[in-house]
Every structure is written in structure tokens, then in C-alpha cells.
């Protein structure tokens, strides 16, 4: 390690990967206690790999000062990297507790401190182990239309680009240039092998200094989240952002503010001369990374969710050279029968209902199941891992029966004041609150439009709706399309049975 400078002056540097945090630091303790034994071992081996050694210097025998006592150590320092690698490989080969590994890492081999690189990789490992541990908001990088060359932006030629180009080095340099005057931060950008995406973790260090000593000091607010995650799914214009809060930790306004600063810098870092970008909301928030990749991902499923999913898997049209008609029928039969068995199993499980009743209802339940299959296609299966846990809509249809015009006006105003009071209480305005334009539009019309909001919550909202349709609670044929999830948003306003598209849509590609 380089000798620490005696004086600390504010500077304009990033925090390098190799800066270390003491092992007793709260962030370190929190992150490491969450990880499983297997993940810890794989991380340790990863840190000991040749290319990462610069950033993850362990405590080796050679680092020991001559006058240091040997007896009071629990773990004797290893001679070399190779020896350490062997130790961890051995640990990986046999079974044991997780504590053993955690202690070995924090009190043994990295007793002098855990580097920023290690902390960042550990947090990303946790994120991949638990893909629904954070709440993500999907945004879209939209090109700001150039008034001079509006037509040029939309041109499709042999070498035109319609997506922002992601160059790791340029992007990082631009981002650091935007952010370093405002805060110090540690960045780690990783392209994930198992999922088609790139993760950026920004560890925000709210201090004018970028030295190790300043890092070790815990901030005054112990509960503020320090790191922010951004994910770019490969080959798509979307960005997912999230604040890495630990379980039960409240995201303070400070944390949100810092995330917003980073978020604002991202489109600027993507922009280049004659191609400026901005982040546009896509009305989509969820905890499940799989759902994000399905609804706002790089594949075919973005604009064909809900019942339209039959168009993305090959159930609507077979391969053009597939001439076999009989087998398809077989497959369908099998599919139906498996579904039948699961259905009956569910039914037989809880209350043990009368057999005879069941027999009578079969044609009706079968019809309902077919209706559900028609509305939902192959989507909204309870175990597909693409569950949305919260869907919120505002119904913007006028109240059905119109009675008295004056009363309506009164109702409307009282409603608005109530709403604003509500807003004050909750502190943060909901995305669904009507904008001034929308209120004006409503006042222009003569129908009374109450502010009605419907929230669906659960582990997998649309699978739940599908089950309710299959059980006859919802009428599958009269149900509006947004209840099948085909609108692909988790928050929106409904008018005439359809999710409203925003009147001021951000143009762009």
C-alpha cells in the first residue's frame, strides 16, 4: 500500500478499487453476513485470481512486520496467493458452516481491510443470488429530437444506429466527469455472464476527500443507503435503477437525492455531439429482475405480454416447415391434462369438496380455463418467476349515473383538497396524482370523474388474476385487457378500459 499522505486535501479523483474499508465497517459487516457459504467461497477465489489481485490484496506472511506477535492470531497468514487459492478450494470441496468462511475472510486473510472492489463484487454477487432483493425502476434512454435534423434521426440506413452506443470506457470517463465535482464515488461496471446485462454499482461517498481514512469514517446518518445500482440489459434502450438498501432499511431522502444525481448524469454520459439522450419513464417498477428482462428486456417479449405471449413463443404459428398436424394435437392434449391434474390437486388439497359437485362443474370450469388461456396465453403462470408484486391504476372514466351538475362540482373540489391533504401526509406525491393539465381537462367536461385507484398486490399479480378468472371470480370475457398484464406497465391511468398512453409522450427512438 502506498504510504498515506499526512494532509488530506479535497481532490477531484474517483475512489480507486484498491482502497480498503476496515472489516468492522457497517457496510462490510452487513454485506458479508448476507452472503451464503458458496457465494463467499466463489468470491474469495475470484479475488485471488490473477487479474483481480491488484484490487484485493490479502494479508500474506510477507506483509507481517517483524516485531509483530504471532501467538494471538487465529489464522496464520498464508505464504502466497497459490496457497490461499488451495485453502479456499479445499474449503469449497468440503461441507461446513458459512460462518467459518466469513470469519476466515474478515478476520484472517483480509484482516487489514476489504477493498472497495471486494465490497462491490460481494454486493453484486448477492444481487445475482437473490434477483428479487431490490426494487427496480425501468427507464428508457430516449434521444432528444434535434430540431434541425429531426428527419435524420429517424432515418434507417445501412449504418444507422437507433440505440445509444454503450462503450464502457467512454461511458465511465463521462460519468466520472459529471459526478466528481459533486461527490466522490467508487464505480464498478460488470458484464454479467449468466444474464444478458451490464451492472453498474456506484458507492456514493459523500465527502470532499477520496482517501482511505475518509472512507472508513461512518457517515453521520447510519441508515442511509450508500450504493446505487444501474443495470443495462444488452441491446435495448432501457436502464433499471435501484437503491441498494438493506433489508428493512428505510431509503432516506438523502439516498434518493444522491441516486437522482447519478441518474441525471447517466444520459449525459451516454450523449455525444449531435445525439443527446434523456431518461424517460416507462411506468414500470418491480422487484423481479426476470420480470424486468421480460417486460423491458432485450428479447421479443417487450411489446407482446399478457395474452399476446402466444406470438413470442411458437404456439401461434408453427415453423414454416413443420407439416405435422397430428402431433400438435397430442401436445395440446397433454398440456391440458397436466393442467387438469394440477387444478384437481389444488382443489383436492384444502377443503376436500364433494366429488359429485366437481363432476358437474367440469364443463363450466373447463370453459373458464379455456377463456383464461385465451386471455392470458402462456403468460401469468404462478411459477414463471416473472411476477409483478404491485400494479396500480387510476380509473379515469366518468361516474356512471349522472344526477346533478352542481353536486358534481362540489364533489370534485372536495376530492381534490382531500387528495392534497393526503399527499402532505405521505410526504411524497404519487406518480398517479393527476397533473394540472389532466385536472383542467376534467373540469372542462361535464361528467363527474372521481379519483378511483385500484391496487393489486401479491407475489405474482397477473397469475393471481388468471386464477381468479379460472375460478370464476372474474368474468374472463368481460375483463378489460390491462388486467391480463398486456399493457406492460405497473402504474397507469385507465380510460374506456384501456391504459392511457401519455398525451405528452417523449419522442425519440
Amino acid at each position: 500500500m502506498a504510504p498515506k499522505p499526512k494532509t488530506t486535501v479535497p481532490d477531484y479523483k474517483n475512489i480507486p478499487h484498491s482502497h480498503r474499508l476496515p472489516t468492522t465497517h457497517r457496510e462490510v459487516q452487513r454485506t458479508f453476513s448476507k452472503l451464503s457459504r458458496q457465494s463467499l467461497l466463489s468470491l474469495a477465489l475470484q479475488w485471488l485470481a490473477k487479474k483481480n489481485r491488484d484490487f484485493c490484496h490479502p494479508y500474506l506472511l510477507g506483509d507481517r512486520d517483524a516485531d509483530e506477535e504471532e501467538e494471538d492470531e487465529l489464522y496464520t497468514p498464508a505464504q502466497s496467493y497459490e496457497e490461499l487459492q488451495e485453502i479456499y478450494k479445499e474449503l469449497a470441496a468440503r461441507k461446513g458452516g458459512k460462518r467459518e468462511v466469513q470469519d476466515r475472510i474478515l478476520e484472517g486473510d483480509w484482516r487489514t481491510g476489504v477493498s472497495m472492489f471486494q465490497l462491490a463484487t460481494a454486493e453484486i454477487q448477492y444481487l445475482l443470488d437473490h434477483p428479487s432483493s431490490l426494487r427496480w425502476t425501468a427507464k428508457r434512454l430516449a434521444r432528444i429530437p434535434n430540431p434541425k435534423s429531426a428527419s435524420l434521426d429517424m432515418e434507417v440506413t445501412n449504418d444507422s444506429e437507433h440505440l445509444p452506443r454503450f462503450q464502457a470506457q467512454t461511458f465511465m470517463a463521462n460519468l466520472a466527469r459529471e459526478l466528481t465535482p459533486l461527490m466522490k464515488a467508487h464505480y464498478l461496471l460488470i458484464r454479467i455472464k449468466t444474464m444478458p446485462m451490464t451492472v453498474l454499482r456506484v458507492y456514493i461517498h459523500d465527502s470532499p476527500y477520496s482517501t482511505e481514512t475518509s472512507l472508513a469514517v461512518d457517515s453521520a446518518n447510519p441508515d442511509s443507503a450508500r450504493s446505487v445500482f444501474f443495470i443495462w440489459p444488452n441491446g435495448s434502450p432501457f436502464v433499471y435503477s435501484s437503491i441498494a438498501n438493506h433489508f428493512g432499511q428505510v431509503i432516506s431522502d438523502d439516498g434518493r437525492h444522491l441516486r437522482d444525481i447519478v441518474q441525471q448524469a447517466i444520459p449525459k454520459a451516454f450523449s455525444r455531439p449531435s445525439a443527446r439522450y434523456q431518461l424517460a419513464s416507462t411506468n414500470f417498477t418491480t422487484k423481479s429482475l426476470d420480470a424486468l428482462l421480460a417486460y423491458r428486456g432485450p428479447g421479443k417479449s417487450n411489446a407482446a405480454s399478457g395474452g399476446w405471449s402466444i406470438f413470442q413463443d411458437h404456439s401461434f404459428s408453427q415453423n414454416a416447415l413443420d407439416f405435422i398436424t397430428s402431433q400438435r394435437g397430442d401436445g395440446h392434449g397433454k398440456h391440458g391434462s397436466t393442467k387438469d391434474t394440477t387444478g384437481s390437486a389444488v382443489k383436492a388439497g384444502p377443503g376436500r369438496p364433494k366429488r359429485t359437485l366437481d363432476e358437474k362443474e367440469t364443463s363450466e370450469t373447463k370453459r373458464r380455463r379455456e377463456v383464461a388461456a385465451g386471455r392470458f396465453g402462456s403468460s401469468a403462470q404462478p411459477n414463471d418467476g416473472q411476477g409483478l408484486e404491485r400494479v396500480e391504476v387510476r380509473i379515469d372514466d366518468p361516474f356512471p349515473s349522472v344526477l346533478n351538475a352542481t353536486e358534481q362540482a362540489d364533489g370534485d373540489t372536495s376530492n381534490i383538497s382531500e387528495q392534497s391533504a393526503n399527499r402532505n401526509r405521505r410526504g411524497r406525491p404519487s406518480l398517479l396524482d393527476r397533473s394540472l393539465d389532466e385536472i383542467e381537462e376534467l373540469e372542462g367536461g361535464d361528467a363527474w370523474v372521481p379519483d378511483v385507484r385500484v391496487v393489486f398486490q401479491g407475489s405474482h399479480v397477473f397469475a393471481g388474476v388468471r386464477q381468479l378468472v379460472e375460478q370464476g371470480v372474474f368474468n374472463g370475457e368481460k375483463m378489460p385487457g390491462w388486467m391480463t398484464g398486456e399493457a406492460g406497465v405497473t402504474i397507469g391511468a385507465v380510460k374506456e378500459g384501456r391504459i392511457r398512453t401519455k398525451s405528452v409522450q417523449i419522442p425519440g427512438v
Binding site: 475470484q46 470506457q169 458484464r191 449468466t194 444488452n234 375483463m479 378489460p480 385487457g481
Partner: protein, 304 residues
């Protein structure tokens, strides 16, 4: 133990056999049902069971319908169909026009894409709007729609011209060229003997990592220069990885010496810009110049 395992193995073999035989039967059935004179014979010859005959005719009709549809799709490759939106609140009573684009590469239909249109404009009934689609985001669907589909808003101004045929043709071109680039990338990997099936697995066994750290350059330690594996003794350079973005518009090639080349590819598969840098950051122009040309021969040209 062994007997149980043996029995399991036998059962699995039998299952495999059953599936192959079933597939064979289905194949034979469709061949039989496609016989040209079959429906006529079924009509004319006397049969003992009238119901069986009606069933048979139904099957034959189903098969011939499928044959017709498949031939049409295979030959036209952009086909249209009509579907009904099940949503009771859908615009235009749920009438939806679907356009289906088949992508075929090397004698196989690899993928089918759909674009579904509705008619939201009550005044101009002919104006189509993209309702749903299964086009991946790396294909410029929006610009194409902007160019070839009418953009008339609800205001009563006259709609601009709309050309669905041209839209379909351009979209198909984009999709096919994308698949061809993907295919070319696979071939490059095979040429460079980067077996993408086995190599990453071996590597992941050697050093478990969740991914590639892209900003490791932030530290400029001297050590990193020396540490990597030593160059091949005979001075032969090997390509260690070939990577590309989702649209295969930018291909990155890494050599064992630490040399990195970035190649820009146009949509029709021409390498039109190339930058090759040695490990020490110096630019190697000669390799870069050699890279210009078709993507198909890139590995060949680079290893000259």
C-alpha cells in the same frame, strides 16, 4: 442399487424409443394425409363406418390447410393474417391485422416475428398503428414505422402516405440481416476455434466470476502489465475471445498477446471501421486496414 439403475436406464431408453417412434408415426401420418387423391377416394369408396370417414375427411382437410399455409409462408416469407383481440375494450372491435415475418438461414426457418396492427383512428379507417409486436429492441422498428406508416394524429389533418408493403419489406431486411450477422459471428467463433460450448465452462471452473469487470482500467498498476499468461513461445498469436453487442454492429476481438481490436460492422455485414491496439496502447494500423471487408472472412484476414 445396480439393478435399480439398470432398470432406470432401460426405462429411459424405452421412453426415448417411444418418442422417436411417435415422431415417426406423426411424420408418416402427415405424409399419408397429404396424398393427392386421398380426399376423392374417401368420398367415393364405400366404407363400413360413416363416422370414421367423416373424421378422416376432417383430418385430411386439416392437413391440406396446413400444407397450403406452410407453403405460402415459406415462399412469401412476409405474410398477413387476421386475428381478434380478446379485450372487450379494444379499439375497432378488436380487429387486428397481423404481419408475420419468417427468417430463414441456411435452409432452416430459424425464427418467426410478428407485428400486429390495429386501426385506432375512427375517421381515417385505413390508418394502421402498431398494437403489439415481437421485434427485439435492437431492430429499428420505431424509425421504420415512422417512415412507412402514417403518423396522422387525432386531429383531422390529412394522413400522410402509408405503405405497409414497403414497411414489411424493410423490416424483413433488418431482421434477416441481423440474423445473418449473428450467424456470421458464430462462424467466426468456430473459425477461431473458440468453441463457445466448452470453453466458457472450463474457464468458469478455473476462476469463478459473475462476469467481466469493465472498468478495471481505473487502476493503473504496473504489475498488470506483466502478470498475464506469457506469450506463445513461437510468437503465434491466438484469438482468445470474440464478442459482439446484441445487434452485432460492433465486434470486439481479443488476442492472447493482449491486443484488442474493435470492428464496426454495417447492417449488411461489411466491416467498415477498425481499430486495433496493442497491449501498450499503440495503434496497429496494418492489422486495422486488413480488417476492412466482409465480416465472413474477418478471422481469416486477421490471422494472416
Amino acid at each position: 442399487m445396480t439393478t435399480a439403475e439398470e432398470l432406470d436406464g432401460d426405462i429411459n431408453d424405452l421412453h426415448d424409443r417411444i418418442t422417436t417412434l411417435k415422431a415417426h408415426r406423426a411424420n408418416l401420418a402427415s405424409i399419408l394425409l397429404s396424398q393427392p387423391h386421398l380426399p376423392m377416394r374417401l368420398e367415393q369408396r364405400p366404407v363400413s363406418n360413416e363416422r370414421n370417414r367423416r373424421n378422416a375427411i376432417k383430418l385430411v382437410q386439416k392437413q391440406s390447410k396446413r400444407n397450403l399455409e406452410n407453403i405460402h409462408r415459406a415462399c412469401a416469407s412476409v405474410t398477413a393474417y387476421k386475428v381478434k383481440d380478446p379485450d372487450p375494450y379494444a379499439v375497432d372491435d378488436g380487429n387486428v391485422l397481423g404481419v408475420r415475418i419468417e427468417v430463414s438461414i441456411e435452409g432452416k426457418f430459424v425464427e418467426t416475428y410478428h407485428v400486429l396492427f390495429n386501426r385506432p383512428n375512427a375517421v381515417h379507417k385505413t390508418i394502421l398503428k402498431i398494437h403489439k409486436h415481437t421485434i427485439p429492441p435492437c431492430i429499428p422498428l420505431q424509425p421504420l414505422a415512422h417512415r412507412w406508416l402514417s403518423t396522422a394524429k387525432k386531429s383531422a389533418e390529412e394522413p400522410t402516405e402509408q405503405d405497409l408493403i414497403k414497411f414489411g419489406r424493410h423490416l424483413r431486411k433488418e431482421l434477416v440481416s441481423w440474423h445473418l450477422r449473428l450467424d456470421a459471428l458464430e462462424k467466426m467463433r468456430r473459425e477461431a476455434k473458440l468453441d463457445e460450448q466448452s470453453a466458457p465452462r472450463e474457464r468458469s471452473n478455473a476462476e469463478p466470476s459473475v462476469g467481466t469487470v469493465l472498468n478495471a482500467f481505473v487502476s493503473d498498476d504496473e504489475e498488470s502489465e506483466e502478470e498475464d499468461r506469457p506469450d506463445e513461445p513461437d510468437g503465434l498469436l491466438k484469438i482468445t475471445s470474440i464478442e459482439a453487442d446484441a445487434a452485432v454492429r460492433e465486434v470486439t476481438v481479443t488476442w492472447s498477446s493482449g491486443r484488442v481490436g474493435v470492428f464496426k460492422v454495417t447492417k449488411d455485414g461489411e466491416v467498415d471501421k477498425a481499430v486495433v491496439r496493442e497491449r501498450d496502447g499503440s495503434r496497429s494500423d496494418s492489422v486495422g486496414r486488413r480488417a476492412i471487408g466482409r465480416i465472413a472472412g474477418l478471422v481469416n484476414r486477421l490471422s494472416q
